[in-house]
Symmetry: C2
Subunit: 395 residues, 2 copies
């Protein structure tokens, strides 16, 4: 048997997908009982030196009008052309597999519905955590759990920068320049360093954790790392922590769900504190499973292609996601950031005990952990203490 697929956008991940399908063709055929054949590659460019040169087309009709093509891999990125092509594919009954977190987080509600209406699927294991299996474990393996917390390092660029700042003792600007030189940050790094990429991924994870109640990226407060100083990094060691950009989702009994992205002091007792460089790690707490962690390469052509191919093979094997996987925009999925209670660390030359009288606190050398404080109450508290600075805290 043969399953014909198309790749839309033959960039890093698109070409990586063709490479993985080719390098493990024997195993894939054995496991799925079908050969996966890349019939068409849709791109604006030509690739005369590629072994796939003869399959490249610039004409979308050749892809979407081809009844043999059952699966389209959307690795264009962004939410413009990718959006149009994804709608066209799904409307034609072609299952779409993607690594495009921007598109999934922005238009997932509509695209999942469109897939359902046309008897096909919209799959995006690769959109969060690159190659790390996380979407399918959440849907399948944790199906008997209520997800009470997700805490993830979901952006490799910022984790690389924070690791370099620590290891080499350099400033944010120097570390960013180094990341750009080494290919770990883009020329325009805003989406990564401002936490936008993490915000999109958290939107997807939170929506799944809430059984499809859509958490729009725009409703997730995101703070990036561009204002992190070498002092902030050094201080982490003083309190036995590592400074990480954490995407946090919480859904505790008695509170409205919360989701935000923030630089966070993570206690070294937690395994995610040890995650360095471009690696990603996502801690998921289920009410039955307890804490579990998924770790691996969060980006890169071949690792991300590994996740894309996992989805392709599921679709080729005819394994269908349940209807409960549809998303619904109810408009008010998470609590307002101001009202969300967080754990924070406050440091200052002098920390007056009286300032914290009404809070449950833990004193460290030169710092105080305030265990639960609403975001709106943080500035009033901290502004009253000369030279004080605060940051989120995660145990």
């Amino acid at each position: 048997m043969r399953t014909d697929i198309a790749i839309l956008g033959f960039g890093v991940v698109g070409a990586g997908t063709a490479k993985v399908l080719d390098m493990n063709a024997k195993e894939i055929a054995l496991r799925t009982g079908t050969e996966i054949y890349v019939k068409r590659i849709l791109d604006l460019r030509d690739f005369p030196d590629s072994p796939y040169a003869d399959r490249v087309t610039h004409d979308a009709d050749e892809v979407f009008g081809d009844k043999d093509i059952k699966i389209a891999v959307e690795t264009i990125g962004g939410a413009k052309i990718a959006y149009e092509y994804t709608k066209r594919a799904l409307s034609s009954g072609i299952t779409v597999v993607t690594s495009n977190k921007e598109l999934v987080s922005t238009h997932g509600v509509e695209l999942l519905k469109l897939a359902k209406e046309n008897g096909c699927q919209y799959l995006f294991e690769a959109a969060v955590g690159g190659g790390i299996p996380i979407i399918r474990p959440l849907y399948r393996c944790l199906a008997a759990n209520k997800v009470v917390r997700i805490a993830g390092i979901v952006n490799g660029t910022t984790n690389y920068i924070l690791t370099q700042m620590k290891v080499a003792g350099i400033s944010f600007e120097e570390a960013l320049a180094q990341a750009q030189k080494n290919g770990f940050a883009e020329a325009n790094p805003a989406a990564d360093i401002d936490g936008i990429d993490a915000q999109r991924k958290l939107s997807i994870l939170s929506t799944i954790a809430l059984d499809g109640t859509y958490v729009a990226p725009s409703t997730i407060n995101a703070q990036g790392i561009s204002e992190i100083t070498t002092d902030d990094i050094k201080f982490a060691s003083d309190i036995d922590c590592e400074l990480k950009l954490i995407a946090l989702f919480e859904n505790r009994e008695g509170s409205k769900p919360a989701a935000y992205v923030a630089p966070t002091y993570v206690s070294r007792e937690s395994l995610i504190a040890s995650v360095e460089g471009v690696f990603n790690a996502i801690m998921v707490e289920g009410n039955a499973l307890g804490e579990s962690l998924y770790y691996g390469q969060g980006a890169g052509a071949v690792p991300t292609a590994s996740a894309v191919c996992g989805d392709i093979l599921e679709a080729a094997a005819g394994n269908v996601m349940p209807d409960s996987r549809l998303w619904e925009d109810k408009g008010d999925a998470i609590a307002s950031f101001d009202n969300v209670k967080a754990s924070i660390v406050v440091r200052a030359p002098e920390l007056p005990v009286t300032a914290f009288a009404e809070y449950d606190v833990e004193y460290l050398s030169g710092a105080v952990i305030v265990k639960s404080i609403a975001h709106k109450d943080i500035e009033p508290l901290v502004s009253g203490i000369p030279g004080a600075k605060w940051m989120h805290y995660l145990k």
Copy 2:
């Protein structure tokens, strides 16, 4: 819709399964579109105080003769009664879900075949890593990868003992007694401390990594931790390692696959070095994905039940594992332990440079890492060095 199930053996995991199904009944019904109803519980005992008292039966015919029962949860353990009941259930077309690593690793070939012949399934996500999703990610998410290495801490009892030996500076015997007192080791701890439990789990993982070429537990060399001394533990710190009981599978280009269980100095650069207490962690390296890690609670009633329930829900939703999942006993799946090359650490009061002339080595303070040496060559090498002791090494 309602799906009727039976639980065979109402012990820790069996009762935990009923508990998880009950506590998350609303979510489960929403996600799978079916209510999971525990119709029968088969056990020798009665449970008059249990809310399930009226469903308990001692008569196997009441379970296997009941056409309504589609899924049986086998949480009896062992490979005797559990084996008979599993065969009976599968022969009746009833899907069996289990946490029984002994049975899966011993009779998996036959039981998977029997399931296939009778149009049902034999599912065992909970048999390895307790609640940690590992079996399904291996089958599904890494479907486009060739698995080149698995390195796992798969036994919580031994990891707890090793952690206690380190933290409290106590002997193996003291740590074992403490583990027994705290319920983390059984009265007869042999299966855990001798590496038999890890051997069974590694048999399952290796067989899956080899696409169903069965690796019998008896062919896996297993060394336990009962001879580990406090000196061995202390020495780990000297070389920036942690001592862990590691279940290792390797399948590199040009070598026959290898699988063995051994106490191992794990470099602190590796995330699994940080895994403490009863937690489990499994590092899987795929040829596309690179390294990935799965971490969580490897035992315990409710975490293990979380994995059991994941399988129940998959079966209830009608998601079927592919035929490639069948196992086949070809009799010669892995290399003879003597011929397998390993990395080891040799320590001795004096380490003569000449002894290692023919090996690729790295000198540490008071120790040498021999990067690749066949097991059969280790004793001849080490016995020539006065006071020398060796251990496996993992970077």
